[in-house]
Symmetry: C2
């Protein structure tokens, strides 16, 4: 496995790749500038669903990254688009900070949509969702990441609650963000890039690397964020390249 | 599939079989009396871990059931025994009402033990357990039931949180209560009964019926409690008998 020769587009995960919390990964601001100077088209794909896109952008810009709003593709916005396309009236179990972006729950829901509700994942809220799912409502989730890196260590991500609800209901959730194929395809379509000539840079072995490879792209794993050494010995998912951090990843891509 | 000819022991699940909440299933008190009159040895096996055994017993006696404390085998007591045998010092995430029975969490835990913590299943408590599990501590759970019947409908049981933590940690929990083989074997040993001549009566297709059958016993499903019609069309688990309720189950056992 190796990176494609002369890649024609790069997809970049945000948290854990460009920054940890509110700290830029050392050298990442400059590396992104170098990548842009190469002319390669870029998209930033995030499964973070505790913040609206506007605040994610402000955070990145505050750390010095030159990124524009329409370059960032979030699972929240993708969920909002999907709900509109299907004309659904969901019950939302999401973080309070994204209610303005996604919309309020309907009193007579015809679907369930989950985001990373964080502290809102409590027994009563989960039991309410459970009962709606047992009535057969569609089960749509923004992501199913296992965990993410916080300043004080790894923490549970929404995948815990998605997997738990799937177990108890016997239902299978439909994922909107990574590693769902349509989420990657939307980025490729916007960039006019072929999957086989595109590299995704991420710190999540399953949802970034596994997802990118399933979509026909190369997956470059960085050893920052939620990365753990065990990720390099996974029985099924083998990154096309592994680099210490985002600056090293950019160097590898520009050398390919 | 059928019940064993002349069964020599009967194991009985409690919630959903003898009672729903604080209401005895109609005719169940009399049916239990008739079963006792037959001389068949009995054990009551429960995965309910929100109450200590003493309170479960008081509730049953208050509904009119003639049951003694040492006939009731609970997942909480089984977990306490296992912790003592292995000399563990667990961190417990359990319901506050069983802390007196199971013991308090240790400050420097060498294992994690989960019960049905109910409202204590919140993000912070689950994240604490997650971090201990990621450090490699043994993961012991009293049960992994999907849901249970409450007066106002089905509700999430602890299995949701067990499955979710397994997903996020990549670890596999060790179950103490049903459907764990040792839990059934302990009851058979106490009764001196052969598995092939023993019938378990339960309302949980997976943990009662599937567990009993895996242990070599017959599984009799009742159409009360958490029973759902779909349970009779499961692709893998097929009860040896299905009866409308506990009185009908007793009649079937005594006729076998």
């Amino acid at each position: 496995m190796a990176l494609p020769h002369s890649p024609e587009a790069v997809l970049i995960d945000l948290a854990g790749v460009l920054h940890n919390g509110d700290q830029a990964i050392p050298g990442a601001v400059e590396a992104l500038r170098a990548l842009r100077a190469s002319g390669l088209p870029l998209r930033f794909l995030t499964n973070t669903t505790r913040s609206p896109r506007r605040r994610i952008l402000t955070g990145l810009q505050g750390m010095g990254f030159a990124i524009e709003a329409d370059e960032i593709q979030t699972a929240v916005v993708a969920a909002r688009t999907l709900v509109a396309e299907r004309r659904l009236h969901p019950h939302y179990l999401v973080h309070p900070d994204i209610i303005d972006e996604i919309g309020a729950s309907h009193a007579e829901p015809d679907a369930v949509v989950l985001g990373d509700a964080g502290p809102q994942f409590n027994f009563d809220n989960l039991n309410r969702v459970f009962r709606l799912l047992m009535r057969g409502l569609p089960f749509i989730v923004m992501a199913r990441n296992r965990y993410f890196m916080e300043p004080d260590g790894l923490s549970l991500d929404m995948g815990t609650f998605v997997a738990g609800l799937e177990y108890s209901t016997g239902r299978q959730a439909e994922v909107v963000g990574k590693p769902a194929l349509p989420f990657f395809q939307a980025a490729l379509r916007e960039l006019g890039a072929a999957a086989a000539r595109t590299v995704l840079v991420g710190d999540d072995l399953t949802d970034d690397i596994g997802g990118a490879q399933a979509a026909g792209m190369a997956g470059l794993l960085v050893r920052t964020g939620k990365y753990r050494p065990q990720d390099e010995a996974h029985d099924r998912i083998h990154p096309d390249a592994v680099c210490d951090d985002f600056p090293a990843a950019v160097a590898a891509i520009l050398a390919a």
